[in-house]
Homo-oligomer: 107 residues x 2
Amino acid sequence: MQRFGMMIRLKAGSASTYKRYHAAVWPEVLDKILECNIRNYSIYFKDDLLFSYFEYHGCDLKSDWKKMDSHAKTQEWWAVMQPMQEPLPKRKEGEWWAEMEEVFHLD
Amino acid sequence: MQRFGMMIRLKAGSASTYKRYHAAVWPEVLDKILECNIRNYSIYFKDDLLFSYFEYHGCDLKSDWKKMDSHAKTQEWWAVMQPMQEPLPKRKEGEWWAEMEEVFHLD
């Protein structure tokens, strides 16, 4: 299993809309997340920052990302979310949410 | 079980020391964390921000916090960590790490 911590900024004034959408995520989007072997997925918010934590339980991350990337309903979801988000300037090439470095873990 | 997401800033120039300590956390500190019913505890770092995620599996959070607070070796650990950290101005009264709001969760 691989754990991930990701970060992105939320644009000023977007918090209530973002939270409203995430209180009732579209079922097709949730199903695709599970189908792509992601579990224990949380998103936290404070001071215009979003942090996400999730666990990947599959064995082909690249192929699972591709599956999610090409899912029409997920693309539709992202098209609503992305205008509310401001990706970090220091993210890696190709990233939207920026992957953080795990500096500690205790089971 | 309760999940927590917490955030704090790391002072400029502190990252390498902070990471070195967290690569080999003192065993007494780890034992106390487990004794206080905390599991699946991760800390992530990016752009001078630390994010921590953990799960509380006990049934008396207040008493477990107090137990950790009063543990000499843990206090000693915090005395090393805190000068490297810059708590968020918008944290709640009494907080060091600021608790974030969970806006989404999928098991």
